[in-house]
Symmetry: C2
């Protein structure tokens, strides 16, 4: 038995570093999917996610259903639309980055008539354009990305939600890159479906897609008739998600649920509001530090998220070389996506990431820039964190 | 911190008991989905599964692609058909139990024109009926269940595969309940798609759907045009599954992959053929023991699997009470499914289960039967195991 090499610090936009108690819960002996401990873990996870996104609690007569599936965030996006839009029906996709375009691709796969309203990466789609697109298309379902993981830019999703309510449109929000680190306010804003995943600001390993579903969305699912997916059909899961001991649909990812329950205990020990505030502070500190290193964030300050930051790398520096230099200091930094892959790098600062991790990451970037010949002074970035 | 209660022995048809080294790998710090360690784990898992099901190795010019997704076996079934059958196209479902019917339900969800050929639970569909149904329906894709988890009965899938080859039909095999504990012989039999999941005879925790896909099936996927699912589209995953470090599609369940790689190390330390032989011996021993306790397996000996056994409980005994009695001895036994729920119980004997676990389980059943007034002698079942 060889001792495994130490794992690098993950400062990428997911997976985020997983706290040790969560890993220990993951490694507990596997339980039956219909056991009492699995039922308890599922309920704890559902409850925590409901708090994190501001869903109506399960006990409430108007309560939202939190659906937890083995899968990934992308599967969650598909589960969010295939229950609401039938073949040939209109779906308005509001796209301000890579993951908006993904909603459009998933919509076309399920046979929807996709209408896209988009903007250049790094910007927001104005609410007026969304309103006009809804009126012109007559779409009854729309998708919105909360934080685009490629750019770190947030959308004005609360404004969109107000318009959706006024026009009687069902709004599906991809909060994969924000939920758990930033408020969503699902019930207060009247958002119908909030999608997230385990491996970002919620602080679990990757492997779960999670959806909070309003009763209005569930009613639209019932009116749809046939859902184009069997595994993703909310109606197939509904009874299991309300009582997994009494109702079987498919085998639950029991170890992941045990880990998820502990992740929620940790997050609620901190408290969601303090957690959101910590993420805001971290984001501001990271951006101050990055600017001091000559790595300006892309997008105006007021549109940037608390969880992910994309920065432009100076023309004289190869982003891949900078990431390799950070990796040599045991810090994993993400590259840019798509059109931004040659000019940007991305930092995730979410979940369990705190000041020690940010100091480690900033020091690695500083050292990397200096080694690559950038005119950076030792301590310039790190000093801004404190 | 309270000490968690000891976990019961899982003698259910999945999840099966997970060996400690696999749990330890699961709890290693989470790695990036595009990291070298994750790539290595994925390749090791793919290689092990290819060996387990007798797929053509990845290096072979005619090699099969092993696809590993966060998900469940049911998701695997859907992934197996949605890439091959378009809306309105015929799908022949050969159903000899609960999970055949599930293929039919998934087929209808994706809009296929499902033609079902079935038999009473506990029996096999004769190969002649399958041949006739293929000829009459003209279906170009058929699904077959290897071991039905509800009954423990195997299908004559090698005979079906011969017919499929002769008629140019693409055959999709649900080997969720058998792969890793019984031979499949995918390449030798010319089976196009073999579906399995992590939590049964492969000995990992639940949370992964796994498909081995032949080049012929992949070619049919290409001819299909639009696949009705985005997340399950093989073409979206192909590059990532060949090189996860270079190609991103969606975030991989990295901790589960690390665990899966260790599960394959353990299985190949034992060797697949010895492992299959061990499962055969266990199944025979379990059935001798159960018969000695007055719990006859349902189905003739020659159609019973090496991994799951369903037995009829005497009319004087309540199956739920017998399972509760076993649970009091820390052994989890499964109930019957569907029509069999009031009269049967089910035992899983797969993956890491060996003689010590079978002795524990048989002793618990013996004690339970005696406590419920059955005319059983102490040692009657346990004695048959040795």
């Amino acid at each position: 038995m060889t001792v495994p090499a130490p794992s690098p610090l993950l400062l990428i936009p997911g997976p985020s570093p997983v706290p040790q108690p969560v890993l220990e819960a993951l490694a507990r002996p596997t339980e039956s999917h219909s056991s009492e401990p699995t039922g308890r873990s599922l309920r704890r996870l559902q409850e925590g996610v409901a708090h994190a996104v501001g869903a109506r609690p399960a006990g409430d007569p108007a309560g939202d259903l939190v659906l937890v599936l083995a899968g990934s965030g992308t599967m969650g996006l598909e589960a969010g639309i295939v229950n609401l839009v039938g073949p040939g029906e209109k779906l308005l996709v509001v796209s301000h980055g890579f993951f908006g375009a993904r909603f459009a691709a998933a919509g076309r796969a399920i046979g929807a008539d996709v209408v896209e309203v988009s903007c250049p990466w790094g910007e927001q789609v104005p609410a007026g354009e969304v309103e006009r697109a809804l009126q012109e298309s007559g779409a009854k379902v729309m998708t919105v990305t909360h934080v685009d993981t490629a750019t770190g830019v947030v959308s004005p999703f609360l404004e969109y939600a107000r318009i959706a309510r006024e026009l009687g449109v069902v709004m599906v929000l991809d909060a994969v890159a924000g939920a758990g680190g930033m408020p969503v306010g699902m019930a207060a804003a009247g958002i119908d479906v909030v999608i997230t995943a385990s491996q970002k600001a919620l602080g679990m390993p990757p492997g779960l897609a999670i959806l909070a579903i309003s009763q209005r969305a569930m009613e639209r699912r019932r009116q749809l008739g046939r859902c184009g997916s069997y595994f993703l059909d909310w109606l197939n899961w509904e009874a299991t998600m309300r009582d997994s001991q009494a109702n079987y649909f498919a085998t639950l990812p029991t170890n992941m649920l045990a880990a998820g329950a502990v992740a929620m205990e940790l997050a609620e020990g901190e408290g969601w509001e303090p957690r959101f505030a910590r993420h805001r502070r971290m984001a501001h500190a990271v951006r101050r530090g990055l600017r001091a290193l000559g790595l300006p964030p892309l997008g105006a300050d007021e549109v940037l998220s608390s969880t992910v930051t994309a920065v432009r790398v100076p023309e004289t520096i190869d982003p891949a070389a900078l990431r390799r230099a950070a990796a040599a200091e045991d810090v994993t930094i993400a590259g840019g996506i798509g059109a931004w892959s040659k000019t940007t790098i991305r930092l995730g600062h979410m979940g369990a990431v705190g000041l020690p991790e940010l100091l480690h990451g900033m020091a690695a970037l500083e050292g990397g820039l200096i080694s690559l010949g950038a005119p950076v002074e030792r301590g310039a970035g790190v000093g801004e964190l404190m």
